[in-house]
Symmetry: C2
Subunit: 610 residues, 2 copies
């Protein structure tokens, strides 16, 4: 079962890379680009920066204290992709492992002297995740041996005591290693790491203990807080522990934290983590478009968490947020060339970025960059795209649920289907049954699809040359099911309404007052201005139905707008209110947010003053 | 001449602590509290934290790499205040000075190995400023000897070469030492530091060289950028160099940078520096109320710069911004108890701060704290309040200009006057001539005072028992002058209109869209909610004339408002716009921004949705 997450219980069971194959299409193309370009790109940069050399003992050691983890994320990507570079890279890693399983190129010689910032357990977490991927896709080899040896070392060193790591991730890795090996101490170790946190287990720091979720025990928390990637990796591990230990209370705690976080601390794109200073969530309703940090890795962590909650509960809301995050964050994080990335993902950029020729040290939003000083995001994208089929569908007791619509083939027990669709550009999804079989087929109807229809079109039978026409029925957001039995050639047709729609923010989101955004299907749109295009500094849109146009296979939208003057002024606060209507009529072109930044330095805004 | 800034030329000459004495009143009370409470408070904490012990060689050394500078700022405050603690503290400092003048408790033994972050020249800058204050208030002593020896060391070590400090301040200190001693090499050293910057002189860092204004030469910059305190300290030093060397081009460069910064990068309170991550300005129109960093020290630096530009040019705009910054930033930075401080000064706080019993490590806004890990702000407040009389008035060729209205007595050449006023609570300012004399008296009419009046009321003469009534004339923003000669008892009465006024932001300030603020006189007001008071999360105000009430000597304002419901919701983005009128009618009480946070943990907002 080739899955990154394989719970032993839950409402849904995942369908893995052995059950789902993506065909050319929105996601299949990105997965292919990832295999062909991005994985090699990451490896090249990790060599160039010396982070792989660290494992060869090259001195001085280079990179940040957690740079080992980037190689592990890349190894995980290679494992899912069946990439031939894996074995030699894993052998390089293996040589740096010490006799007792300890492995870290930064802290060897001063082991475990800095739990707050050292990232040693964090690095093991990514190593173990790579090992799990390899075990599931291939079986034992040098990488899996290194990972198991490291996990055993962790259990010996940390089973007793009160210590944990400033950056969670080892928790979910250990549970998955338990799931693949059946070795219970890995689960127990993960459980202890979860329960230790917040007692507290770590030192106080200027950011406060909430930064690494050590401010209170996870069972008592009300909302995700602090560093977003840490919060979401921890929550993912907590769900894993809860599911494997049957701890309903623990699961409910995370569910309710998720719910509050989505209601108050999530950007329209699904991005999480508003603040730059500590990469943290910030307060409820602190959702500034311009300074939204929205680290790409946080969105990947959000997908990991929502996937776990979906499997555990079967609640479609988790799949809805995953779709939003996939199309507006993951797809945004990597450029069309597969070689340049966003680290921060603001929803507004006022000043075009200055192009760089190398590492983007600042990792500010607005500049698609080949590499960063901290390059978690490219490697995280690589491992996520390489395992993306595992997120597409899931098995119920009596059939399958298709969560994400992209050209693909799915097999599960007696069912085999092919999904054909131009989604997200069109709303027509065809699910064609490939062989006679049994089982219920469910399709997710996204929350935004308020007037979708479903048709079951039985294949023409030789006995009935004039079959009844398909029955078309309205379906509501949630799941729409069709029961078998099936004959090869039967088809389900889902029609999702793709009218562009205006979206308005909760009044408590101060930074978005008197603005609106446009969405179409799962895509958030934005206005983008490069070079000589009309500036966006004083634009006001009229809330009228956007006009659709297709440009190079992409649906772009146009709305009427007014472009105000931008005078050189003095003091910018006055005793009279500016007239919002005061400006030149213009047509504002909106492009999918995930496409922005591919045409060179630009200004951009998702939320448009109205 | 007891002045922190004493240019040898310029349109205006400052009146120092020997010419201006504050009486009880808004600023006189704060100055007295500073003398009686704040200075001792700072010294106690610097002992407790070990920063003074560093000079005694106590080990391990404690505090940040720049903690020496806090002792120097405190010494400067003591020098202006004539505080008896100065000499023993200066003697402690003196013992740590090395034979060649080098003095730094952190870097002794590894001198000048980190110009980017080492802050050695920055520390000298504050030491020299303390020495200048002492020379002007007292004359030579142990402190001035240490300072001069350090300055001579700096000139020997740095006159040749390309090096400078990551944190400016030594530039203006050296110019002032030149002004007080006449030693030209100090001016030349300052000039070279200014001209070296941006060639570049420092290494690139992840924040970018703009962080410390090393991205381009100061003559080429268009706007203040990067770390706000650094930018403003540098600009102050540049003005000093420009004035002393007669470099008009250099002065014009700073003037135009100031102009653009005020128009695009300044908060309503006068606060500067929007970003937390690097304490920087951010982009044009990036002025978020909730995440406004607005470091107290940046506001002090802004006052220092505007004062220099005012003296050089006589342009009243610099005094207007100074007033705004004094009443809404400096007065806000220290609590009514004189022992607790704001470091960051946001214009909106959504979640009440959690009270702390000691050092505020995070230095986030919203919590008045006794001390910080980086405690520049308390010491900076102390030295500024101790020298505040120097900012009140200035001399022209033929008289005086009174810039700031607070109970005080002023003497200059043949003129002696007493200012009486309840400003900023009332708009009546009386300037009473104390002795027969000559000279023109000018009063600043603030930019917001669009219908002020001025009356010249000659003293009753024994020869004319029924004098003509005073002539009341309208005066426009700028300066209003009355010419002498004067008789003891003559009076000038300025009446400033104190009607509360609504203020609206430039449409390009995205974070303030559809909000307004209320000002009255020089004061910015805010809504504050403690404990059980109505929450501010979904408040909408109606733009009607605020009603004034006096509460304990403070004018508070009331405006009609609607308090919306704050439902626990799901996804906070919807297809319909919330009705802004939907809420419960309420009266919103507004208090002066500088008073907020004195009643315990609170939420607060300056900009109110309308």
């Amino acid at each position: 079962m080739a899955n990154p997450v394989l719970p032993s219980s839950g409402v849904l069971s995942p369908l893995g890379l052995d059950a789902v194959r993506l065909s050319p299409g929105f996601w299949g193309d990105r997965m292919a680009l990832n295999h062909e370009v991005t994985i090699a790109h990451c490896q090249e940069w990790e060599e160039r920066e010396g982070w792989i050399g660290n494992f060869r003992g090259e001195r001085p050691r280079r990179g940040r204290e957690f740079s080992d983890s980037e190689i592990y994320k890349l190894l995980e990507a290679m494992a899912w992709a069946g990439h031939p570079g894996l074995t030699p890279l894993a052998e390089t890693v293996a040589k740096a492992q010490e006799g007792d399983g300890y492995l870290n190129t930064r802290w060897s010689g001063s082991r475990y002297t800095d739990f707050e910032w050292g990232h040693e357990l964090y690095c093991y977490g990514h190593l173990i995740q790579a090992g799990v991927a390899r075990l599931r896709m291939h079986g034992e080899d040098v990488l899996t041996q290194v990972a198991v040896k490291a996990a055993d070392h962790v259990c010996r060193r940390f089973m007793e005591g009160t210590e944990t790591c400033g950056h969670p991730v080892v928790e979910m890795a250990l549970v998955e290693l338990y799931r693949v090996t059946g070795t219970e101490r890995y689960l127990e170790m993960a459980r202890r790491f979860v329960e230790r946190r917040g007692l507290p287990a770590l030192a106080d720091i200027p950011f406060g203990r909430a930064y690494y979720q050590d401010d209170l025990p996870v069972r008592q928390a009300q909302v995700f807080r602090g560093h977003a990637v840490r919060a979401l990796y921890l929550a993912s591990g907590v769900v894993d522990v809860a599911v494997e230990t049957g701890d309903e209370e623990l699961l409910k705690a995370v569910e309710s934290q998720w719910e509050r976080t989505v209601a108050r601390r999530t950007h329209l794109t699904g991005g999480m983590g508003s603040r730059h200073a500590d990469e943290s969530y910030g307060e409820d309703y602190e959702l500034p478009p311009d300074r939204a940090y929205n680290e790409t890795c946080a969105s990947i962590a959000s997908i990991m968490l929502a996937h776990r909650l979906l499997l555990a509960t079967g609640d479609v809301r988790y799949a809805d947020l995953t779709e939003r995050t996939l199309y507006n964050m993951l797809a945004t994080g990597v450029a069309l060339d597969g070689r340049s990335f966003f680290y921060a993902n603001p929803l507004q950029v006022r000043v075009p970025a200055v192009p760089l020729d190398g590492v983007n040290h600042a990792a500010e939003g607005g500049l698609r960059s080949p590499w960063f000083d901290v390059s978690c995001c490219p490697n995280n994208i690589a491992r996520t795209l390489a395992s993306l089929p595992a997120y597409v569908a899931a098995a119920t007791g009596d059939g399958i649920l298709i969560h994400h619509f992209t050209p693909s083939q799915l097999r599960h027990q007696g069912l085999a289907v092919r999904v054909e669709t131009g989604y997200p550009w069109t709303g027509s999804v065809s699910v064609r049954v490939l062989a006679d079989g049994e089982g219920r087929i469910g399709l997710r109807v996204p929350a935004w699809a308020t007037d979708a229809t479903l048709a079951h079109v039985p294949v023409s039978s030789p006995d009935a040359p004039l079959p009844d026409g398909p029955v078309i029925r309205p379906v509501s957001p949630g799941y729409a099911h069709v029961d078998g039995p099936w004959r090869a050639g039967d088809e389900i047709r889902l029609e999702l309404p793709m009218r562009p729609r205006w979206t308005f923010p909760d009044r408590r989101i101060d930074a978005l007052r008197s603005t609106a955004a446009v969405e179409r299907g799962p895509l958030v749109y934005c206005a983008e201005s490069v070079a000589e295009e009309p500036p966006l500094g004083a634009v006001t849109a009229r809330v009228e139905p956007p006009v659709e146009r297709e440009v190079d296979g992409v649906v772009v939208l146009e709305v009427p707008a007014s472009i105000g003057a931008e005078p050189d002024g003095g003091w910018p606060y006055a005793s009279v209110e500016a007239d919002r209507e005061d400006g030149t009529d213009a047509t504002l072109r909106l492009v999918p947010y995930h496409r922005w930044g591919n045409r060179g330095p630009a200004t951009m805004r998702v939320w448009i003053p109205i």
